[in-house]
Symmetry: C2
Subunit: 132 residues, 2 copies
């Protein structure tokens, strides 16, 4: 397996509804999380739903962070996909703390593809076969 990055899939609950419905607070929390995760922000979209709920996507040089909140359930879903040298677990901790979630589950997924499928590897094999 050729790993390109780590993806933390996070579900968090028992968070105050007023924080989960505060688009400005979520924007600030995302920027804090991106800084803490040592990532580089390319673009940030924060959208307030009516009557409640906020969704936000941060496009990063390292990949992305996304968050979707359900204030009426005290719940939010977040994703931290980082390639390179960033610290997704640190970003997750900062977001969880900023939004006051008492409960959280995080699943780490290694993103990537079979090493044997890499065209650069296959090209090397072809060259080697040619030489042999």
């Amino acid at each position: 397996m050729a790993n390109v990055g780590i993806h933390l899939v996070v579900d968090a609950w028992e968070a105050p509804a007023e924080l989960l419905n505060d688009a400005n607070r979520i924007r600030e929390a995302l920027i804090e999380a991106i800084c803490a995760g040592e990532a580089t922000l390319i673009d940030l979209c924060v959208h307030q739903f009516s009557p409640h709920g906020v969704t936000a996507t941060a496009t990063l040089a390292e990949s992305h962070i996304a968050i979707h909140t359900w204030p009426e359930h005290g719940y939010f879903a977040a994703d931290f996909f980082f390639c390179g040298q960033g610290k997704p677990a640190r970003a997750m901790e900062v977001l969880q703390t900023a939004l006051g979630a008492k409960q959280v589950t995080a699943t780490e997924i290694q993103r990537g593809f079979p090493q044997s499928a890499d065209p650069r590897t296959r090209r090397s094999e072809a060259v080697f076969q040619g030489v042999a």
Copy 2:
């Protein structure tokens, strides 16, 4: 478990490098995928890296789609997080076809939280206990 949505985690490879490095084609493919998935686009960010690679995030009324490409490996990672009535599997198929990936793995994750943690449920229990 209270499910709020379905998240398809997709890794795809054996795709042509020229497609994976074409930001305009990826923008078009995402819009096609969003339409096929019967989702509503709020915001779309498409970013071209140098010397190669494209990253894009689509903020949806239903949650989000994200894609990150590694043309040099013929690989892309994509996420389709849909709450509500959308069709994430159909969106995935359209994106995979548009970008010419011959191989794909997709993992479906049910996003949500324990039913017992829902504050609306807990409030009902509290009322019931008060009555009892």
